[in-house]
Symmetry: C5
Subunit: 84 residues, 5 copies
């Protein structure tokens, strides 16, 4: 899994219907190249500036009720920022 | 998921029959190295210059009626370009 | 999907029996770092110098009759080289 | 699989319920860019400073009793550090 | 798939029981950054210095009798080193 910082969110009106109900967060990698911002779906209610744990690829589906075209999902909000 | 800008499309006459019906878009990464252009399939009708949300790998299949050899799919068109 | 140029092929006599019947092509990435050459299986008959479309990971299996340990497959031959 | 060194662990109180019971380790890559720290789940009891073998993506699920949103798992603790 | 050179092997006494019976090889990428050494499981008997073909992620499972937490597997030994 990856750690990232929530930088904001995006809005997409024209989208795959299975994505309705997920907040789409912009995530800045906590380690490594911070310019490699990506999008993760969230249902835990992570707020801007919080550090989150993100699962990617196939394993995302294990958290969902039905298969959804999401390849990065917030699966935890980290209590304390780890040492860089 | 990744954000990318639609730069154009490609045509492939000799291709796997399951790819028929998908537009194959050239996508420039919105964040990170913009030279790492890749191809994503599209059925949402994204136009050149639009910023799109792309799902990759296994999770792509959750959007399709039958399993198809597509590893990157446009799943949303972003309303407003996010801050770089 | 990725675009790549066919640079040649490899021969492997001692290999997993499920790979028999596939040509194993050396592919140079068309965009990004051209030194990151990889191997893709091919049944479309792509020739040296042609530009091909390659699907990776799980989605490869959607093109095959039986599950095969192939993680990169030529799924199309591109008609005209796109702009770099 | 990747080799990594255990640097510590993270705590996440608000998390996906399926992650309960796994220790979440911070892993520094043993080869390559050591700044690309990531998180792997552990049930083998790896301690700080130990070198571990990590499996990623789909194949992680083969080690678990039920599908869990984990994309990196400690599957071995290495006896002796290999040559760098 | 990737090409790599066998550099040696690792031993892990405390490991997931499903990994018993596989040799765990240290693989140096043949193309690209040779410092990005990784571990691949082997049952073909590849020897040190040989160049091998490696399949990754989901597709590895197609070569195995039961699902195993292996994300990189030697699926072929290359007859002649290709041009760099």
């Amino acid at each position: 899994m990856k750690l990232g910082t929530v930088k904001g969110s995006i809005v997409s009106t024209r989208k795959c219907s299975k994505l309705v109900g997920y907040k789409l967060l912009l995530i800045e990698p906590y380690y490594g190249d911070s310019k490699e911002i990506f999008v993760a779906a969230d249902r835990l209610g992570a707020g801007e500036g919080e550090i989150v744990l993100i699962t990617t690829d196939y394993s995302v589906q294990a958290s969902l009720e039905q298969e959804t075209p999401i390849d990065a999902l917030v699966v935890g909000i980290v209590d304390h920022p780890p040492v860089k």
